[in-house]
Symmetry: C2
Subunit: 110 residues, 2 copies
DNA sequence: TTGACGTACTACGTCACGCATAGTACGTTG
DNA sequence: CAACGTACTATGCGTGACGTAGTACGTCAA
């Protein structure tokens, strides 16, 4: 199980990387995160909705109303060119961070 | 340059992994972090002091007064058995998180 | 002698993010 | 007709890294 603290700062990266594949809606994004992490992390509803709003506010995604198979219509999110660029910069930063943290834990048994 | 957001949650891990080698004091820890990260991350004084206090409060490190070559005496920090165990669990969590994030960014150019 | 510099801290406040808690609302299905 | 899954919104909290600021001590150069 991955804690919220451990994943903090990478929710946006996860969401944008999923939206890079194709437009999606909140509920599906949550399911995909659950699946991709092998159930090690389940994003909370509030986290997810506030994250997509944040992304939309920053023009990294745009939203449009789409039909749902059942119930209320859903809001689909689509990555923008800015969002893609942001994703790429975050990925670069992630790779830097990863190599730095790895350098510290060399030799630590776990 | 690694942002504070990217490193957030891993400062304790960095500090404990340094203290695993040998006892040290705040200023030296800051210098080591600067060096190990290749100057990509410089921990701020306030961050560092609040972090070691947090670690001490959680009994993950203990402190003792030691002489300094110049100026005021310094506080040395030493990792405890609990601290070592905590470090190992954090390393395990880091490895999980790392593999999860990597899974998301597969195929993203940076 | 003074003042810049490096070292060694402390106090206080700010901000963002992930989450807890709670509630609304709609449609299908048993 | 109630339970369930889906599709959200509102409010507030805790934590951690940081900004800003100040104290204090010693050395060294001008």
């Amino acid at each position: 199980m991955i804690s919220a603290d451990a994943i903090r700062g990478y929710v946006d990266l996860m969401l944008l990387s999923l939206l890079r594949q194709r437009p999606s809606y909140a509920y599906e994004l949550a399911q995909q995160i659950h699946a991709v992490t092998g159930a090690e992390y389940s994003i909370k509803q509030t986290t997810l909705y506030s994250a997509v709003k944040r992304l939309e506010g920053a023009s990294l995604v745009t939203s449009y109303a789409g039909a749902s198979e059942s119930g209320k219509p859903r809001t689909y999110y689509q990555i923008t060119a800015d969002g893609l660029a942001y994703l790429e910069s975050k990925v670069a930063e992630w790779r830097d961070t990863r190599s730095v943290v790895d350098r510290f834990i060399e030799g630590v048994e776990a």
